[in-house]
Every structure is written in C-alpha cells, then in structure tokens.
Amino acid sequence: MKPNSTKGLTATLSALALLATGCGGGATTSAPAVDPTASLDEIDTSDELDGVVPLPATVDDRIRAVFDKYAHLDAPSGERVHFLGQPGVSDERLFRVKAVFEQLVTDAPGTSLGADKRGVLDAVAALDTTIVVVEEQQTFDLSDAMVASFTQLFDGLYASVDCSMVVQEGSPEYLLPDPAIDGTLLETSGILLRFGLGATVPDFAEALTLARLHAESQGLYRPVAGQQQGQADADYLGLILSVYYGVWGHDPSGQGTSGDSGEYDFCDRSTLQAGDPSALALIESFFSPSQAFPAYLASSFSGTFEMQFDPALAYTHRSRYLERAGFRGDVTGRINGNELDNTFLGGDLADQFEGRGGADRIEGDRGADEAFFTGLASEYTIVAVDSTVTRVTDTVPGRDGSDDVRQVTRLHFSDQIIDL
C-alpha cells in the first residue's frame, strides 16, 4: 500500500464488523457461549508507562493466536475499551491509536456538545468495544484459521485499525517533504461515531449528516458513490477532522484539495473555515482546537522537532496543532514548541525543550534535561513553585510566556546558563 494513500481505509473502516461466521457463510443467530472480552477485563497494565503490555497467558488462546499486546481505556462506568495489537504492531503505534482515540473522547471545555463526554465513553465501553490494530488490513486474512477463530469468538463484533496507516510524529514518513497521510484520525473518529457518539449525541450525528449533505450539494465534497449514510458520514467526519488538524495542510495534491482523490475542496483549517463553515462549526461543537494526546516521537527520531508552523517544513502543518510532545526511553533530541500551552515529556536520556509562546510545562523525567529560552536571563523571573517545579516567566510580552519546569537540570538563556 502506498504510504501516502488512505485508500483501503474504506475496508479498514468496516470497523464494527458484523461477520457471518462459519464455512459457507451461515449466519449465527445465537449469542456466543463465552464472553470474548472476559479474559481481557482483568489484565493489569498499571506497571507500564504507556499502558501497553504483552498479552498474558490467562487470555483466551484464540485472541493470543492473532494478537500479542494489549492496552485499554477506562470509561467512567469502570468498563473498558480494549485495544489489541498484532505482533508486527509496535507498542508505540498501539499506544498512539489508543491515545488518539482517547483524545476524541476527552472533554472539550467550552464546546456546546463536547464539554462532558463521559456518556460517550461509557456508551463505547458498554458495547465491550474492542479495537484491533492489525499490521496491514490487506494482509489481515479473515480466511486464515486463527483469524477466523478470533472473529468467531467475538461474533464479528470488533473494530479494526490498519497500523500501516498510522503515521507517528517524528517517524521518517512524517518528516518527509511530502509527509505520508496519517489515517489514525480518520479511523478512530469513524469508530467513535459508530460505537457511541452517534447514539449519545444525536444532535451531533444529525448536524453531521446535514453538513455532509450541504457540502455534497454545493459540490465541495465529492465522496465515493454508493455509500450509505453511516459510512458516508464517517468518511466525511474523518476527512474534515484530518483537515482541521493539519494532516492535509501540506497540500499533497498541489491543488488545495484533500482526500485520496481530491474529493474535498479544502486542505487546511483556514480554507475549511472559509469554504465549509458548517464543517468547522460541527468540529468545534465537540472537539478541541488542538490535539492533546501525548505525541511521543518515533524511536527512529533524532534531531530537532519543530511544532511552530513553518511553510518550509511540511510536517509543521500538523505539529502546529499538537499540545503535548515528548520522548520515550532512549529516544532523545530537541523539541521546539508552538504558541499553544505545550507539555513536553522527557525520556530516559538528556532531552532539550524550548517552549516558545504559551504557558508551557516541561517534565524532564530522567536524564540531564535542558530548557531553552529566547532572551537574556535578566528578562525572566525564576521562582520555585514548590520543591520540584520551577516557574520561568518572560517579562517581555508576547515572547516565551510562563513555563513550569520539573526535573530539568539547566536553563539556557541567550546570554547564560543557569543550573538548577
């Protein structure tokens, strides 16, 4: 599959699959004898920083035959949304899928419909939703005996995400001058719509349909013909969300359009706002203006990661909307923030962070981490907030803002270095 294409997502977005099980396609009419997620409900992930653990031996063999790692999301009700990863799916990819999904169901204060999403997440978990991250949808062979057995165990009720469509921050395909299109938002938003959002926030679902129909009738959106309403709505939502968060901002078509076949007339937030204001209103009724999931840079990353928009760096069309970024384990480098209130997360080694605008938070963690500032040391106030946090505030308006640093060993100013 071309890394820069989202083709195949339609099949991937079969999401909640109602599968006719058994040879000959005979449809099952009775409920399965066992609870397929029972063996997942008790898995303890608390010891792992990212919540991704190997599947323990207590898990049903039919699951372990296909998948080898697990993560979950806790709903307010105490029930879980399950995430399973195949052997070829790295921990960091599985974590990212979970994190992006979690972001979509995290409260968006100030929005008319998304300020309290507890009911949405409860609804998703109430369906025992299991999201499987497969190595590649095209090679996830449903006729394979082990996959068929897994499918039968779940009575076909699971959602799938294609790992090959997940483009992680800092990965080679993310940093290319022509970055690969990240399908995570498209896939997870489609799952969310089907597994809870559509039912628990009917105003959103209805407005989504109206917005799509409006975009179609105006010729702004030219979807694949013959789709039914739910799929069409999911595809439209995934596309406008991807555009909103900058996935298409580098204008891969060179024509200002988005979608695999240029089916949508806009490729970035500003043109979306001007050209399809219904879509913008819809998104901003439920979702946050920036992405708050922790974007850990890929294990292959080295160098400097920029979050401030720079037309010369194609990936900053996306990173400009990130709030949280960091390193894990022995990945290290430098991250320069954007004007949002960023949170930077340090890994095991010596990392470097520059917050730039906004009220940023730097969590150095292990290693000799360093924070960088634009101006002279004398232009900042440095105050110990408590025994672990130091607040560095720029007295020059509109520049670095106020940053809280923790577990950081050095503060770099333009004229001097201060050891903490």
Partner: protein, 356 residues
C-alpha cells in the same frame, strides 16, 4: 461483564446507537472458490426506520453475502420517472440539479434534450430538488410521468476565472468579500442545527454562504444563498490579488463577477535525482517576494510540475526531496516577460531537506 444480548435486542441497541457498519464476510465463496478475505458490504441499521417488528439482526444478512435489508442504496427501484428542472425566471432548463433523497445527494446533469431520470421505490416518494443559485423545492413523485419542477432563484454571485489568454483556470481559489466586511461566526446550537450567523442578523441555517470557493474545470464559480448586499470576489495568485468590481445584489438576483488575470507565465520545473532519473513527489515551494505564503506543488512521475499563471515579481524556488537537496533558486518575471519559463533542478546527494 460482557453484555451479549439476544439478537433482537442487539439490533435495537445497535440501530439506536447509529452503530452498525455491517461488514459481511464470506469466508468461502463456495466449492473451489477463492476465499474472500474482506468485508464486502455494509448494512446501515441506523439508516433504516426503526420498526417494532424488525427481524433479528442475524437475519439481516444473507448467507450469500449480500445484505438482505432493502436500503435507500440497495432497494430495487420500483418507479423510474423523469424530472424537468426549470429556472422559474427564464423557463430554461437548469444544467445541474441536486437531488436529495433520504441521506443521499445526487448531482445530475440535464439539458433541454435530456431530462433528469430518477429512480425511487414508489410513487409518493419525496425528493428535494435544488441547484446552485436556486431555492430548493421538495416534491412528491407522483408517478412515472415526467414532472416539471420550477425553481425560484435566490441571491447568487457567479463568475469565471480566466488567464491572460482567456484560458479557464480550474481549481483557483475565489474569496467572497462583502462590503462592509461581515463578521461571520460559526456555532452549533443544542437544537441540532449547525448555524452560521452573519452579522448576527442572518437567520440560523445550515445552508449559509461560505466565503471561499474553487473554480471548476471550466473556471466557473458560484457563491450561493447570499444575503442582499454589495460584494466583490478576489482571486489570489502568488500573493497578488485580483479584485472584481463591487456588485450590489438584491434579493433573488444573480450577478456576474468575472476575473481575467494579467499574469500568463507558465513555469515548468524539472527535478532530477543525481542519477539523472526523474525525482517524483519532490516538493516545490515557490515564494514570491512579499507574498504571505508560498505556492506548493509536487513533481509527477516525470519529475515535472507546472505552475501557472505567475504574476510579475521576484521569486525563490525551493526544492525539497527525500532523495537529495538543491540550493534555492531565484528568478524574476517582469510585466513584458516571456510566456514560458523552464527550470531544471538537479538534486545533489546531500540529504538536507529532512530534519535530522
């Protein structure tokens, strides 16, 4: 923990949850048939009316792998009829009508010789018939006999964007400018309508005007459903804005706002790798001095990209590729300049475009 419901209950739950995309898997297509590995069809329970006597969900799926539930997309058409959509003011056939049927939208071309043919499940079906520049109308399909649908005009601004030689410019961005500038706010009310409010005076409606359009293949564009007022349109090329004359629009009136751009130069860039092979998907940034942002293009499989038209000015071309780098190149276009400019870029082996 697991709440596996009986099939009937789960149907109701799933249908009410707008949840089900049914992917029907035919594990084996029959003796000797190749296994079918993927979901092949979807059943949208949510798009169906929720009836008390709905069949159990398992019965919605046929053994053969074809959804058994008639839906808007799959129901056999019981009635075929023809619509003749006319401009109420002129009596002429409307070229392109938009038919909304349930949750589907069809844009259908028509002509005076070729009415629109629609298929509906039965007589009595309601359709919404509209077109850009017209008020939509809901009609009931009465039978197989052709029906005439007359649409009233609504306020619209139409135009075309041409280059200096009169060639249409497809995909050009056209911005609507209202005098005085309107404050547009967007919101979604709890009453389930996405509302667009203009100056706080527009009635809340999802079909509010947008302020940005792209030209079609013929260079044409249209801003529809406008409030009466004075408008201009603007086309920006490389930071140079071409602004139309102001037009005053009254209720139900159409006006034209055409653009003929002065710029006509076409820039062709050829990018090759060090080996001499074409560099595909190289990113070109063409930045005109003083322009707020660069033009972005990508090379095709021949390593080529064309940018047209470019107005006079001094430019810097930056080429980014995973296969190599090249120093930025400057070039100037003057008013009486050439019509074509070809640039050839040879990438060096130094990888300088990727952040590392």
């Amino acid at each position: 923990m697991m709440k596996r419901l009986d099939p009937t209950t789960s149907l109701a739950m799933i249908a009410s949850a707008t949840v089900v995309t049914g992917a029907l898997l035919a594990l084996f297509g029959g003796p000797g048939a190749a296994p079918v590995a993927h979901a092949v069809e979807r059943v949208e329970a949510a798009s169906l009316p929720l009836e008390e006597d709905r069949a159990p969900i398992a019965q919605l799926v046929e053994r053969s792998g074809v959804p058994a539930v008639p839906t808007a997309d799959h129901a056999p058409a019981a009635l075929t009829t023809q619509l003749v959509v006319l401009d109420d003011q002129t009596g002429l056939v409307v070229d392109e009508a938009v038919i909304e049927f349930g949750a589907r939208v069809q844009r259908l071309q028509a002509s005076s010789m070729r009415p629109i043919t629609v298929e509906v499940p039965a007589a009595g079906q309601r359709l919404q018939v509209g077109a850009v520049g017209f008020h939509p109308r809901t009609i009931m399909v009465e039978g197989a006999e052709p029906q005439e649908v007359r649409l009233a005009r609504r306020t619209a601004l139409r135009g075309v964007v041409l280059d200096a030689y009169g060639a249409p410019l497809p995909r050009a961005q056209v911005r609507l400018v209202r005098e005085p500038a309107a404050q547009v706010s967007t919101s979604l009310t709890a009453g389930n309508q996405a509302t667009i409010e203009i100056d706080g005076s527009g009635s809340p409606t999802l079909r509010a005007p947008a302020s940005l359009r792209r030209t079609d293949a013929t260079g044409a564009f249209a801003f529809d459903a406008l409030e009466p007022g004075v408008y201009q349109t603007a086309v920006e090329i490389a930071g140079v804005e071409h602004l139309s004359e102001p037009r005053e629009l009254r209720e139900g009136e159409w006006a034209r706002s055409d653009h003929r751009l002065l710029a006509a130069l076409a820039l062709t860039v050829q990018v090759d790798e060090t080996s001499g092979l074409p560099a595909e998907r190289a990113r070109l940034l063409i930045q005109r001095d003083g322009a707020p942002r660069p033009i972005t293009r990508y090379t095709d499989e021949r390593g080529q990209a064309e940018i047209r038209p470019l107005p006079a000015g001094t430019y810097q071309l930056t080429v980014q590729s995973a296969r190599g780098s090249a120093p930025p190149r400057s070039f100037t276009i003057d008013q009486a300049g050439e019509d074509l400019l070809d640039l050839h870029i040879q990438l060096s082996t130094e990888l300088g475009t990727q952040e590392d």
